[in-house]
Amino acid sequence: MKLRQWLAPVAALALVVVALAGCGGKGGSGGGANEIVVGVYGSMTGNDATFGQSTKGGVEVALADLVEQAGGKIGGLPVRLVVEDDQGKAEEAATAAQKLINQDQVVALLGEVASSRSLAAAPICQAAGVPMISPSSTNPKVTQVGDRIFRMCFLDDFQGLTMARFAVQNLGLKKVAILKDVKSDYSVGLAQYFTDEFVKLGGTIVVEQAYTAGDQDFSAQLTAIKSKNPDAIFIPGYYTEVGLIARTARQQGLTVPLLGGDGWESEKLIEIGQDAINGAYYSNHWALDMPDTNLQAFLTKYHAKYNSDPDAIGGLAYDAARVLFAAMQKMAAEEPTVFAGLGSAKAGTPERKAALDRLRDLIAATRDYAGVTGSITLDANRNASKPAVVIEIKGGKKVYNTTIHP
């Protein structure tokens, strides 16, 4: 197609420019002081930019904690963050991971939110032996990539089950329509898990429709859904499209509740959806009005730094960074010689490899870590098993409704 033909040379040119800028600016890495570099990658811009911004915000609060408690150092080495923007594109996520590992010599990567993008970067981390902690990718395939890939959140099979149970047991729904993003691993997976449990509980999926991220017009799909008279519509997508879909649904006179997953978690959801999003429910990692002491302490810190409320994506990123820092602190205290391999001066040496292997083991050994998004214990498959929270949107506010345990 024409579009591709035009974009390719531009992209190539952009790459060259970025590469040159990178070389000119820093003169490569390893020349500076000995330090520990941690990579963060995410969608700082693009269709779901709040995901990347929240991740960055959460990690920065964790680093601020470290500065306050230990002068920003672990084992005598200062910790530095490098943040890369993948613009919400899977291919850019892979490029960002390459750059962080090869050029910045990071000891670990924190990211992504969207499963498709975590899945693009994970094989690169796995091959390089660098641990990657995804704060909030829920698709099961993400940690199946290999033993270096971890996550801080529940999985989509549980999330799908949560919403199916909530729909049947709390809302008494029998007929649900599904509207999913066919090009997103997250959306397709979550739709499947929801369907499995919902049918098992005696419900019927009356119609399944699809869209693609970036679509502007959803009227055709919603008209087709409306003709089947569902009790609710399950939309396992990301907040931008969900907001637009909600508006179109109300425009077409569809007033049934909308249901969704943690891809809805963004302040922008309400800004885009406005009145149309009221009365919707979605599963999430936390609710800000939960009386959890860790959570409330984090809220206070976040408020002091950014003067706004964090979303769950930010909370999970904070937990991911804290788990990583805790593993490194443990290593520095117990095995200082191995720990020295994490310093940027050791990049590319056998010591670095041994240190990364040890860091992986220590992250994998995380048990009962008191996070702001609940207690974190990583299982044999490097996943955190946590309860899910159902949030209701009422009068433009996100309100805690119920908690569903695994």
Partner: protein, 300 residues
């Protein structure tokens, strides 16, 4: 049946947006034999101009139909000026060059506007304020239309009708027709060809900007790359109706909109983008001049 009618309403609303964009393609092609690939990006700029205009008029805090109209007109005016600027700076210098140079220039302008848009507006989507509160109006049992959809439709029809009146019944419009037949002969009759070309670009850009604002009104996410796909599809619509032909562009746009919505509603949304290009292939095979186009025999 009510589902089918509802899909038809959806299709016609969406198609009227394509029709507005297609008009600009067709007018420029009719006059210059140039496919202005930057036209879809003018549609994007129109939406952003609308966003800034609505901030300027504080239309989000205190929405009213008058302000919405002001936003629309401001965006159309600013985009017309941008269209004029692009014509003067980019296309005029290559007008005497081979047609391929002009086409490549158009692609260059398109890339400039998109990536310049990323630089100026940022890559993350912006959200257009709700200038007119949404209301649903039931046409028939089971067939609903929102006031925003109606506005899109009515404004599109008014603009298309105004354009037709302008081209058929004003001196400038008649001059445009003359220029589209033959530049040389028109200039011998005392028509300033440069002036007519500039006016054509301004009108085309204003219509694209109107389409941008109208789309943003009901689907409020706007970003610098939003013009690529609608631009390509409106181009297909213009070819479908017979490029260079004004009623043809309108019909082509409506056919495209309805075809897309029907394919999405009854087959699969993954074919949504494909149907546009299937239509293009079919029309080029069956009737290369388009629905309303006249087959021209080249004299050798």
């Amino acid at each position: 049946m009510s589902t089918f009618l509802q899909q038809l309403v959806n299709g016609v609303t969406w198609g009227s947006v394509y029709a507005l964009i297609a008009l600009g393609y067709t007018m420029v092609y009719g006059i210059l034999r140039l496919i202005n690939f930057a036209h879809g990006d003018i549609y994007m700029l129109g939406a952003f101009m609308g966003l800034y205009a609505s901030r300027w008029f504080h239309a989000a805090q205190d929405p009213s139909p008058v302000k919405a109209l002001l936003v629309l007109l401001t965006s159309m005016l600013l985009s017309a000026l941008i269209g004029m600027l692009i014509e003067r700076l980019a296309y005029k210098p290559v007008r005497k060059s081979p047609r391929l140079s002009a086409l490549i220039t158009a692609i260059g302008v398109s890339l400039l506007l998109e990536n310049g848009g990323v630089l100026v507006f940022g890559a993350d989507p912006k959200f257009f304020p709700q200038l007119i509160p949404q209301k649903t109006i039931a046409l028939l049992p089971g067939v609903a239309v929102s006031n925003q959809q109606l506005i899109v439709l009515v404004v599109s029809i008014v603009l298309m009708f105004a354009l037709r009146m302008f081209v058929l019944h004003t001196r400038t419009g008649k001059a445009m027709q003359a220029v589209s037949h033959n530049h040389m002969a028109a200039s011998l009759m005392g028509i300033s060809v440069d002036r007519i070309i500039t006016i054509t670009f301004m009108i085309g850009s204003a219509l694209a900007a109107a389409a941008g604002v109208l789309v943003a009104l009901q689907s409020p996410k706007i970003e610098p790359y939003m013009g690529i796909m609608p631009g390509l599809k409106a181009f297909v619509a213009a070819v479908l109706g017979g490029i260079g032909n004004i009623p043809g562009a309108v019909v082509g746009g409506l056919v495209m909109g309805v075809a897309e919505v029907m394919v999405t509603g009854y087959l699969s949304p993954t074919y949504r983008d494909a149907i546009a290009f299937v239509l293009l292939i079919v029309i080029l095979l069956v009737r290369p001049a388009g629905i309303f186009g006249k087959a021209v025999t080249e004299k050798v």
